[in-house]
């Protein structure tokens, strides 16, 4: 059976997601911050975590965005192959929803139309859209506003197979260390390994959407997640770079088969305002 979804419904859903994602963090992120606060040894860092939680309550009560950088709108689509879109083009509807959401809800517009000519597009479009065709008759839309501070500290390297898993660890740790206080720690670290150049980057970004506390189902990957998590938190960067034992709330690793000659590694860093919100139509 084919299910028909009208563009107007998509526009409205996306506009709503823009607001919701920017006002309230997913439960798992909130829990991770609470857990970090209870564990934190450094008094200054503990106080900073309390202020972060206070920010969550004020944002919710006052309907103000958690962070003034309401980000690039990154949209992940899961399109069931039994879905028919009516009334226009799917991608146009997504862009219109983002434009409407950012304008109506007083979110900051941070997108410029050209990398060095830099004229603001004034409605935060274009969004960056990643889509996947899946089985079923649903349309799943996830909106993840991504701030510039943390995105700027992300990195990708084409390692050779000889570098091995040690080379991967070294690169991830080095990226986090160099980022220091700039991505607004505590951070979430998404690591994409394998595939090719662009696949690794996409894996890293998608890894940021996984619930905090979840482990990659493949044992070796889960082990790497745990080891990186321990090592990153031993760096002592801490909340906002002020020191202490919470630098990362989570490290998520995703892998994919790759060419005999390569071993791409992408590290995408997210700040503690690890926003994403999903709706299923």
């Amino acid at each position: 059976m084919i299910k028909t979804i009208h563009c107007n419904e998509i526009i409205q859903a996306v506009a709503d997601l823009c607001l919701q994602a920017n006002l309230e963090l997913p439960r798992d992120v909130q829990n991770a911050i609470e857990k970090a606060k209870n564990k934190e040894q450094c008094a200054l860092a503990k106080e900073m975590l309390e202020q972060i939680q206070k920010n969550h309550s004020i944002a919710k009560e006052q309907s103000l965005p958690l962070c003034q950088d309401t980000g690039t709108a990154v949209v992940f689509l899961e399109i069931g192959q039994d879905v028919h879109i009516d009334g226009g083009l799917l991608y146009d509807a997504i862009q219109q929803g983002v434009a409407q959401g950012y304008q109506e809800h007083y979110l900051r517009k941070s997108i410029v139309s050209h990398p060095w000519l830099r004229t603001n597009t004034k409605n935060n479009t274009p969004a960056i859209i990643h889509s996947e065709i899946v089985a079923g008759d649903h349309l799943k839309i996830t909106l993840a506003p991504k701030g510039g501070g943390a995105e700027n500290m992300s990195s990708l390297k084409m390692l050779t197979p000889a570098a091995g898993v040690e080379g991967i660890k070294k690169f991830v740790i080095q990226t986090v260390k160099e980022a220091g206080p700039n991505p607004c720690p505590p951070i979430v670290v998404g690591v994409g390994i394998g595939g090719n150049f662009e696949k690794s980057a996409l894996l890293a970004k998608k890894a940021l959407l996984r619930p905090i506390g979840s482990r990659n189902p493949q044992e070796e990957n889960a082990r790497l997640e745990e080891e990186l998590y321990q090592k990153i938190n031993a760096l002592g960067i801490g909340i906002q770079g002020f020191g202490g034992n919470t630098t990362a709330l989570a490290v998520h690793v995703e892998t994919y088969p790759c060419h005999i000659a390569s071993m791409p590694v992408a590290v995408n860093i997210n700040c503690h305002v690890a926003r994403h919100k999903t709706v299923i139509l």
């Binding site: 006052q62 103000l64 003034q68 701030g147």
Partner: protein, 183 residues
């Protein structure tokens, strides 16, 4: 208990501060980002007057969200201070006493803080609704055409911050680096 500070700053207000101290800042502060800094340092070079009273002033590196109806200001957290580094020594020379932002500063800025007795504070990146709650009044005083990057005069009450670079050449981030790097 955080140390409570009132703007504009005098050197004597800043001498007791040590990197790592928690403070709250109240009084008038001014927002400015990259473009506003570029314009202001240009004015200084030309010997012209700045759009804000620079003696003892505090600049907040921030570009707020649009102000929703019925609110004083939109969310207004700190931006990365390092982007202002190249302009900052001249601003300190002209009388700037305090800066609020997030992240590391250059050695030149740290040195200027030490020599001219100015202080760099950090607030929590991402705690922008909390910061908005500290703002009691807001108005654009220069460069309205820059939108979020215009210069706002903000009256703040108990804005929480941490001393990063004090007047004695100490840097909070560097101290953490030394504590944490075994090799």
């Amino acid at each position: 208990m955080p140390i409570s500070l009132h703007t504009p700053f005098e050197t004597t207000d800043l001498l007791p501060l040590k990197s790592g101290d928690q403070v709250t800042i109240s009084g008038i502060i001014y927002t400015a980002r990259d473009t506003a800094h570029k314009k202001m340092t240009q004015l200084l070079e030309e010997g012209k007057e700045l759009p804000l009273p620079i003696q003892g002033a505090v600049i907040y590196y921030a570009g707020p969200c649009p102000t929703p109806p019925g609110k004083i200001i939109g969310s207004v957290g700190p931006t990365t201070s390092g982007r202002m580094d190249s302009y900052t020594p001249a601003m300190i020379q002209a009388g700037l006493k305090g800066m609020i932002g997030k992240g590391k500063r250059s050695l030149e800025v740290q040195r200027a803080c030490q020599e001219q007795k100015a202080v760099y504070f950090a607030t929590i990146g991402g705690a922008a609704a909390l910061m908005a709650g500290c703002v009691k009044s807001a108005r654009v005083i220069a460069y309205p055409e820059l939108g979020a990057e215009a210069i706002y005069e903000l009256e703040v009450e108990n804005l929480p911050a941490v001393v990063v670079d004090d007047c004695y050449g100490n840097d909070l981030y560097e101290r953490q680096d030394q504590l944490s790097s075994p090799s």
